[in-house]
């Protein structure tokens, strides 16, 4: 069901003064557009808002009563929030890294997908920032982190680096998406000088956000499970899977609900990326597995707990085997020829890999870093209801943002180009 799009619009040249003057108009239009839609759209937005509010409420309780309402302890001092943070950073990075082929091969059709990737990146960055904020014991002191008025431990603290690169990444992508949308809205051809350099910057930056996030963990000598040089490469490889897989899903949903579609080429490129990246990811997992269990020792204690349980504690075993199964089945599906066509194989594979990586990069990576503790005590962790609510709220808010961005993108793009094949 493709939206009719009437226009062959808008060639009116606009003076540069007008560019600035009409910007508020653009924002106003965006606001209007973001809140216009059919019944299904309103139901969707209403549901997301409701879930976000549940999350906000749970978070408010957490701030007022203390983080005692989470299930984190001095032994497992990071949990679901930081797990989700790690995944979202990967999603943000992966969303943009697939811009590379688009510009490398100058693949015009890819651009329609690329802007969706940028939108995913923006939403994912917002989700990761929120995941950190809700993890703070004193969110009221957030300003201590702001360079200039706070007191930042730069360049030594990896967390400071992370805050800086994440915010930089958000700004870059906001600029790219905002600029492209605005130009299309005005009916002008975007001036490459104004966005191509930023696209390249954001590619490099995408790699940096995920690398720095990996350094956050692998730089800690006291946590043998994280203290491996393989962590950053594995983060990147899995980001190359989760990002494109998420984008394929989004494109599918867009095609069903709005008729926004790109030629089959870009999706195939994405599948190729996923195939390679997933293979590398699994090879690295196997190599890690070997090192952990063949040598054993301190490095192996967490892995033992994670994969097989230890001393009668099995909390993470079901999680990690679910993740591994999902990842392997997902990878096999991606390698089937039918994954190159639109269809359920591809979608199933995407869903499996996204869930698999969410667990593997999150609960499967963050939590076992703390078990056993540095004094070899085993204290288990599973998220509390409050943590689940807050996390669901963050996802709902992120998807809400994504919906709004996509709505603007679809409107503007289909307005100009009409829809290609359905």
């Amino acid at each position: 069901m493709s939206m009719s799009s009437t226009t062959d619009s808008i060639q009116s040249p606009v003076e540069s003064a007008d560019l600035i003057r009409s910007y508020p108009g653009f924002l106003w239009w965006g606001l209007g557009e973001a809140t216009n839609g059919g019944l299904r759209f309103y139901v969707w937005m209403f549901a997301l808002t409701a879930i976000s509010l549940v999350g906000a409420n749970a978070w408010a309780h957490q701030v007022a009563e203390g983080m005692i309402v989470t299930n984190m302890t001095d032994h497992v001092s990071w949990g679901l929030y930081i797990a989700n943070f790690t995944f979202c950073v990967g999603l943000a990075a992966g969303g943009v890294m697939m811009v590379i082929p688009a510009y490398l091969y100058d693949d015009e059709e890819m651009h329609k997908v690329v802007i969706v990737g940028e939108a995913v990146a923006i939403a994912a960055i917002v989700m990761s920032t929120l995941s950190v904020v809700v993890d703070l014991g004193r969110p009221d002191r957030f300003w201590h982190l702001v360079p200039g008025i706070g007191r930042v431990n730069w360049p030594v603290s990896m967390l400071t680096w992370d805050v800086i690169v994440l915010n930089g990444y958000l700004l870059i992508n906001l600029h790219i998406v905002g600029y492209l949308l605005y130009m299309r809205y005005l009916g002008r051809k975007p001036n490459p000088n104004w966005y191509v350099p930023f696209v390249f910057l954001s590619i490099a930056w995408a790699i940096s956000i995920h690398t720095v996030t990996a350094f956050l963990y692998c730089g800690l000598g006291g946590r043998p499970f994280w203290n491996t040089a393989l962590l950053a490469p594995r983060f990147l490889a899995s980001a190359f899977v989760s990002g494109p897989a998420f984008i394929i899903l989004v494109m599918r949903i867009l095609r069903i609900t709005t008729g926004y579609t790109a030629a089959p080429g870009p999706a195939r490129t994405l599948i190729q990326i996923i195939r390679v990246a997933m293979t590398i990811n699994l090879v690295m997992l196997a190599s890690e597995f070997f090192t952990l269990f063949y040598t054993g020792g301190a490095h192996g204690a967490s892995a033992q707990y994670l994969f097989f349980g230890s001393h009668g504690h099995y909390g993470l075993v079901p999680w990690i085997w679910t993740a591994i199964t999902f990842n392997i089945v997902g990878a096999i599906l991606f390698f089937m020829p039918s994954a190159l066509d639109r269809g359920s194989v591809r979608i199933t594979a995407c869903v499996l890999c996204i869930v698999g990586i969410w667990i593997e990069k999150g609960m499967g990576l963050i939590v076992p870093g703390f078990i056993p503790s540095t004094l070899h005590e085993i204290v288990e962790y599973s998220p509390s209801l409050v943590e689940w609510k807050v996390t669901a709220g963050i996802w709902a808010f992120g998807i809400l943002m994504l919906t709004v961005l996509l709505k603007l993108i679809v409107t503007v793009f289909t307005g100009e180009q009409g829809t290609a094949e359905a």
């Binding site: 799009s5 009437t6 619009s9 009116s12 009409s22 108009g25 106003w28 209007g32 839609g37 059919g38 299904r40 759209f41 808002t49 509010l53 906000a56 409420n57 978070w59 408010a60 007022a64 009563e65 203390g66 983080m67 005692i68 989470t70 984190m72 001095d74 001092s77 950190v132 993890d135 703070l136 014991g137 004193r138 009221d140 002191r141 201590h144 982190l145 007191r151 930042v152 431990n153 603290s157 990896m158 967390l159 400071t160 805050v163 809205y185 009916g187 000598g221 006291g222 946590r223 204690a301 703390f370 503790s373 540095t374 004094l375 070899h376 005590e377 679809v410 409107t411 503007v412 307005g415």
Partner: protein, 324 residues
């Protein structure tokens, strides 16, 4: 979705082809009015959702919110801050306390050693720490954990902290672990806001009013030495230790990190740490590493001393040894 549903303006950018007056292109006023109502309801719902936050202004005063980092406070600032904190303690805990800020003694570097042949795991040090440092009573918080270890192994994997039988057991020895006051402290490198740092006498401290509670330092510490205030500590008024240091044992705010500070409010004034004073076995030796005649230096010179996890390069100022 039926065609009805997507009434009006959805996906018809043709409508906006004039970039000049986009406002006129908004859909009907009725729709706009509905949106306004929706937005108002949404805001109201958000206000309800986060209403538990409104209890916070009572706990976090404007002065506290704006307070600068410890190292940026002038003497006058400090005086004001300490007075405020004293008043708050009075109000919230009903206890009269004095908050002081003893400075490192020039030329002194503190070190601590434990004689594992003497320690019998009775845990008096943990209790003394709990009282001295105004720890949360509900959870028996303490900066010290005593590991019961199997004789024949120094591997902590064979240790446990949750023993509750009579001590000492014949086949066991006991190893208390607390902040090792690392010379090369990974917790300090980790902190994104410099809320924790090493003082000139080697003690690693936390500014509880600057810490944002990210718990990165807790992940970074290899000795499980840091404690987070998961909730506001509860201490009966008569049990509050009134002799408090700003960087040491004053009652910590909810949501911030804390750790052993070698009782700096005592040791910088020439007294012994509370855990040493409480230890009935004489296993603990504390002193100035820079003083060649100190007890601690005698131990370092004459005993076979080891530190925990030496391979990590943290260079603890905390030592362990056995007699003979």
């Amino acid at each position: 979705m039926t065609d009805d549903d997507k009434s009006g303006s959805e996906h018809q950018p043709g409508e906006l082809s004039g970039p000049h007056l986009p406002i006129l292109n908004q859909p009907s006023t009725r729709r706009t009015a509905l949106k306004a109502v929706g937005a108002a309801l949404g805001l109201a719902a958000f206000g309800r959702a986060v209403s538990p936050l409104w209890s916070i202004p009572e706990n976090v005063s404007v002065d506290e919110f704006l307070q600068q980092h410890y190292k940026e406070l002038s003497e006058a600032d400090k005086k004001k801050v300490f007075e405020r904190l004293e008043a708050e303690t009075k109000e919230n805990y009903g206890a009269n306390v004095t908050i002081s800020d003893p400075q490192p003694i020039p030329g002194v570097r503190f070190g601590y050693a434990i004689n594992l042949s003497k320690c019998n795991g009775n845990g008096a040090c943990m209790e003394a720490c709990n009282k001295e440092n105004n720890h949360h009573r509900g959870v028996d918080q303490s900066y010290i954990r005593v590991l019961e270890m199997s004789k024949g192994s120094l591997d902590m994997e064979h240790g446990t902290t949750t023993f509750d039988h009579t001590v000492p057991q014949d086949d066991k020895f006991y190893m208390p672990v607390q902040c090792q006051q690392c010379e090369n402290p990974p917790c300090v490198s980790a902190c994104p806001v410099e809320a924790t740092w090493q003082e000139d006498d080697g003690i690693v401290v936390v500014d509880y009013n600057w810490c944002i509670g990210c718990r990165y330092c807790e992940a970074a510490c290899p000795y499980h030495a840091r404690r987070f205030n998961w909730e506001q500590p509860e201490i009966p008024a008569e049990e509050v230790n009134p002799d408090q240091g700003y960087l040491s044992n004053r009652i910590r705010p909810q949501g911030t990190m804390e750790k052993c500070h070698f009782c700096l409010h005592r040791t910088r004034e020439g007294r012994a740490p509370a855990c040493l004073e409480a230890c009935p076995t004489g296993a603990r030796v504390f002193g100035d590493l820079n003083d060649p005649d100190s007890d601690i230096n005698w131990i370092l010179k004459n005993k076979r001393v080891f530190v925990l996890k030496e391979e990590l390069g943290t260079k603890p100022n905390f030592f362990y040894f056995f007699d003979s």
